[in-house]
Each structure stands twice: as C-alpha cells, then as structure tokens.
C-alpha cells in the first residue's frame, strides 16, 4: 500500500518535474540535487540516531522519516542529468564516465528506501534497523565511489 503510494508520488514528481525542467541549467541541477541530498540527510539523521541508540526507537517517527527518504530518493536521480557535468560539484569524473552504473545505484537506492519505508511502517524494530543498515550501505557505496572528498 505504502509502496504504491510512494511509487505514485515518485511518478507524478518525475512527470511534473520533466514538464517544468525540460533542460535545466547545469548549476540549477547541482543546486537541486544538493537540496535533495540535504533533505535526505535531514531525515536520515533521526533514523541514524535511533539506530545508534542515541535516542529511543520510535517506530512511528522512524516510519515518518523513512517514507520521506523513499520519496526523496525517487527525486534524486533527475538532479544528475549528463548536461550538468560541466557545473562545479562534488561529483567525481568517474560518475559521469560510469553513468549506467551510477543510474543503477540510484535505482537501487530507490528500491532500498522503498523497502525501508515499507518495513518501517510495519513497526518491527529489529527488521527496520536491519533494513536501515542495508540502505545505508547503498548510500555509502555510491558516496565512496562517486562523491569527491571536499
């Protein structure tokens, strides 16, 4: 159910996004995706704190943030059009050189975050945190591979 909702949201975001920003300026694309990443970090923070036991696990709050991250994940890839390669950013040249791999990783992120949202909604702490660990690995994998140290 939740998955369908997120898919729908994502699809509509892509459709309207595509309609409005047919050919974004490279700098705008960078700013957009950095905004998305910032918003993701904003939501991942409390989940990470719960996973580390810094704040008590709150299934409802976790689910809230997981849902948002799942939606944001669907909005991220469009911020990396090949046309934005020229703009200064933290993307490594390797990311543009291996664009199909990057795209695959972003797809993996969408799947993984959608699964996290779904599992988090069920409210089981163990299962949620296990999936969170997997999702974080997807984040980290791509950062390690394609994000410039800055």
């Amino acid at each position: 159910m939740k998955r369908a909702f997120i898919t729908l949201l994502g699809a509509s975001a892509i459709l309207t996004g595509a309609a409005v920003v047919a050919d974004p300026k490279p700098e705008d694309a960078v700013e957009y995706r950095q905004g998305i990443m910032m918003a993701m970090g904003w939501n991942v923070g409390p989940m990470g704190a719960m996973a580390k036991g810094e704040i008590p696990f709150d299934a409802e709050r976790f689910s809230f943030h997981a849902t948002r991250v799942a939606v944001l994940a669907q909005m991220a890839f469009e911020g990396f059009p090949p046309s934005s390669k020229s703009a200064e950013s933290h993307a490594k040249a390797a990311m543009w050189d291996n664009y199909p791999d990057f795209e695959e990783r972003m797809k993996k992120l969408e799947d993984s975050t959608a699964r996290l949202a779904e599992i988090a909604e069920a409210g089981d702490k163990g299962a949620t945190l296990a999936q969170f660990g997997d999702t974080v690995k997807v984040c980290k994998g791509c950062h390690d591979e394609y994000q410039e140290e800055h």
Binding site: M47, G48, E149
Partner: protein, 219 residues
C-alpha cells in the same frame, strides 16, 4: 658469540603496542563498514587517542628505553646506523635503533593527526565526530578528507614497520616481535638493563590520559 637476554620493554610499552595492533585494524574495518558501525569506530578512536597521549607521556616519564631522549637521535647518527641495518649481524642496540626510533615518532605523529582530524570528521550520513559542531560542515569535510588520506599514509607506515621487523628477522636473525611480547631482547653484547619506574606512575598517566580524552570529546 654469547647471547645476552636483556629486558628492554616494560609492560606499558608492550600493552601500548599490542592494543594498537588490535585497535588499528578494528578502526579500519569499522570505517569500511560505515553506518552504525562508526559509533564503535569513534570509541576505538578515543582509545587510540588515549594510547597516544599515554605513550607521549611515557616518553618523558616512563622506563629508560621508552624515553624519547634514549632513542631520538640526530641525522648523523641515523645515517651512520644504516650500514649496520643492512648487514647480516644482529644489532647491539637494546632499545629502538636510530632509524626505528624515528619511525616511532612518525607513527605517533600520524596517529595523532588521525585522531585529531577524526574528532571533527563527518560521514555525510548521520555520524559526526564529537567536535564537529565547533567547526561546521566545510572545515569538517576538509578534515575528513585529511582523515582519509592520513589513514592511507598510516597503512603504508604500518606495512614498512612490519617489513622492517621481517627484515630484522630474516636478514639479521633478530626476534623483535617476540621481544615486544616477552619484553626481553636477545643481544650480541651486554647492555644496561631496563630501568623501570613505579607502576603507580603508569596508572596515574593512564588515568590522566583517559581524563583528557573524556574532556576533549565532551567539549
């Protein structure tokens, strides 16, 4: 030629060494793992922070062969010792040899940089060093990059360190790793035995090191 078994490394020196042997690989593994594991990575970093503080203090107030003054030599002495390092005979140096002494200092420096930058680092996900808030994201990102480069330097130094110990073993017939376990070195000539210091001194310095670490990470 008669061998002489001489005590050179006291318990604090040996503990320092072998705790690092556990802590550095764990730090590496937990960093590669990332995510929630960085919590333990940070605990491990605090431990190494304490170990480095302890070793620096022990270099001034510790047992004789642990003191910096006993093994930090000038460039001429280091150069003069190179020939002895290359030939097949075991060294007569009881403590650190002139080149090895500098390796100790370089390793301590690199560890200090590693710990110091780690305190301010972030992982772009949900982990931040305890002093992150004092510098902000941009400075933290720079220090994180240094943290990563410096770790590569540390790995290279560790490899050189192990290779050197292997060299001493294979080429010169010296059992340096064993000496770091037992505390006693087999030397080709008699040497002044280790001058130990009272155990309370190690305990006080360990306590002070732990207190400094606790204070710094809670700043």
């Amino acid at each position: 030629m008669k061998d002489h078994l001489v005590p050179v490394w006291d318990l604090p020196v040996r503990l320092f060494h072998w705790l690092l042997v556990v802590a550095i690989p764990f730090s590496w593994w937990s960093a590669e793992e990332g995510g929630v594991m960085l919590k333990y990575h940070m605990w491990c970093g605090y431990t190494i922070f304490g170990l480095v503080l302890f070793r620096i203090a022990w270099g001034f107030f510790g047992s004789s062969y642990a003191r910096f003054a006993s093994f930090v030599q000038g460039p001429r002495r280091v150069l003069a010792s190179l020939g002895e390092l290359l030939d097949r005979r075991p060294l007569a140096t009881p403590g650190h040899n002139p080149l090895g002494g500098w390796m100790v200092m370089v390793l301590l420096l690199v560890l200090a940089v590693q710990v110091g930058t780690g305190l301010f680092a972030n992982d772009d996900l949900f982990n931040e060093g305890p002093l992150y808030a004092h510098v902000g994201k941009d400075t933290s990102d720079l220090l994180t990059a240094i943290h990563h480069v410096n770790f590569t330097i540390l790995l290279v130094l560790v490899a050189v360190h192990i290779a050197a110990v292997a060299w001493h073993r294979v080429r010169k017939g010296e059992h340096l790793a064993r000496a770091m376990v037992t505390g006693r070195k087999t030397l080709p000539a008699p040497a002044p035995p280790l001058v130990r210091v009272a155990a309370w001194r190690a305990l006080v310095i360990a306590g002070a090191s732990a207190a400094i670490v606790a204070t710094v990470v809670n700043l």
